[in-house]
Symmetry: C2
Subunit: 324 residues, 2 copies
């Protein structure tokens, strides 16, 4: 039996019970809408699982878990405006279905709702939980800013990219586990090791997402392959390619990046060829594996029952196996 | 000696000490910028004053006061995007000086910063303070949504307008006082009466702002007269005029409201004439005075030293005397 998948279902049920539609509807309907678009509810499930692993009870962590999911969806809502995305999970984004003002304001209200949910934690850990949550929230904003900054920079280093995805993606997974652990009464060191586990898994996951954009099968990955290449997105693959390319390869890369009217399929094919010549796919897998190993090392230090560790290892494995 | 004005200066000094500029600069510089644009710092000053009145000490309320000011400036930042405002306090708005994405994200970070500041309150009142703060924050979002909804509605009632300005403007003043009072150890009833005082003063203040848009002197008011009329803003004056106008007056009003190319000065003059014929200026002053009286009634019930009540009465009087 898997606790994490059970907690994913519990999250889904709890979201349905939130009873979000109040007056004025223009503010609350978009909140209900984006929460109902679905998603895997991984963050709240990890939060509840961590609480359960340390205390045998997940209930004290339900509202914090929902607060994290609310915050996560708030960031998606505002990111969609900033990235001019029209579609999320196959449906129109909030700023497309309504308008930008609605998306800004409903997002703001979601952030406040998340804060309200985070108040419903055991009082003895309230300040600690909130400190972790707000520090993480601020760092997620920093990650999004770095992501936008990188669009206009030609000198992004691989280390900077890793730091950006750490902030934008990894630490919210990490904080979900840490917050659940703290509510479950974990010792500081255990909570921190779970954080490290989540952080490394988050990094591996994002690197894999970059990898799958090029090497994934659309049927499994669920997205069209090559989108990052077409958009010149400075992923690990591209940055690593720039770093390792010889003069000729750099020149070709530059041609495809700067070309204003090209056949996108040809561009994807040409850049993928340079990646393969430079074995960027292998470098990418190596780095993913490094982070996967780091996550297991951190996990092994956590004082929870072996079967719980096994579950978290399976969870990490499942994430890593998306490209098989 | 005025405590409130002293606390306004203390707020200014404390803002200068916040040390906001961190990496990435693109996220933090706009926060520093909007906070340095100035403003009267009324909300934090009222928060500290309320704390002082009940405890003889304002220091435990400093961070909460700054959190409220941070939140207030966050709402200004996002409202400026939604209202397409180019200028705030004589300087370019954040989304004009930088861009919309920066304004959205820096605003989000300000909301988080506000939450972090609100954590630094005495632990025994932390949950209560935060409940008041987040409830207020959510209601401010509701007020902004109503304000936007009203732009597209032709059937806005005066009562709805009052509710909108209550949410958008009045309750943050009210909550500032209440939060300061709670930190200062006030009894529930006293904190609630101070809230009512602030709420009524906030309503009177906003009604006066509407009034001054038409009847103020640019030299004193600091804004060009008639802007609300030109923008067809559904203020108390316009809604009251529509309610009281006869058929002919309604027809003329409708002409000026619907006209697509008109001389703005003529429009202001014509609509002001209808207002005057219907004594809307007097009705407006009466309603302001009603709220002023309500604020004094609530204030009189608060158990603080008479000289502190006198200060809050003077504060209310000063606000009300802007049109003399």
């Amino acid at each position: 039996m898997s606790f994490i998948s059970e907690f994913q279902s519990i999250t889904e049920n709890q979201i349905n019970k939130l009873n979000l539609i109040k007056t004025p509807k223009g503010l609350y309907e978009p909140i209900e809408y984006i929460l109902q678009l679905g998603g895997k509810r991984i963050r709240p499930a990890l939060c509840m699982a961590a609480c359960y692993y340390f205390s045998g009870n997940y209930e004290p962590s339900i509202e914090a878990a929902l607060g994290i999911e609310m915050f996560h969806n708030f960031t998606l809502l505002h990111d969609d405006i900033m990235d001019h995305s029209s579609i999320r999970r196959g449906k129109p984004t909030v700023h497309k279905k309504w308008n930008e003002n609605t998306a800004i304001l409903s997002g703001d209200a979601m952030m406040v709702k998340a804060c309200q949910l985070m108040l419903n934690v055991p009082s003895e850990v309230m300040k600690e939980i909130q400190s972790v949550f707000y520090q993480t929230s601020l760092e997620v904003c920093e990650g999004q800013q770095l992501d936008m900054d990188f669009e206009n920079r030609q000198d992004v280093e691989i280390e900077e990219y890793i730091e950006m995805i750490r902030l934008k993606t990894a630490i919210l997974l990490a904080a979900s586990l840490k917050i659940g652990a703290i509510i479950g009464g974990a010792k500081k060191e255990d909570a921190q090791n779970l954080y490290k586990y989540g952080e490394s898994i988050g990094l591996a996951f994002q690197l894999q997402d970059d990898y799958l954009d090029v090497y994934g099968k659309t049927s499994i990955f669920g997205k069209k392959v090559g989108q990052d290449i077409i958009a010149n997105k400075k992923t690990f693959l591209l940055l690593s390619c720039i770093k390792n390319a010889n003069k000729e390869q750099l020149k070709e890369l530059r041609y495809w990046i700067d070309a204003s009217s090209i056949n996108p399929d040809e561009k994807v094919k040409a850049i993928t060829k340079i990646y393969s010549d430079l074995k960027i796919d292998e470098k990418s897998k190596e780095l993913m594996n490094d982070y996967y190993q780091k996550s297991i090392i951190a996990l092994n230090k956590v004082n929870i029952k072996p079967e719980y560790k096994e579950e978290l290892k399976r969870f990490a494995m499942n994430l890593m196996n998306r490209f098989n």
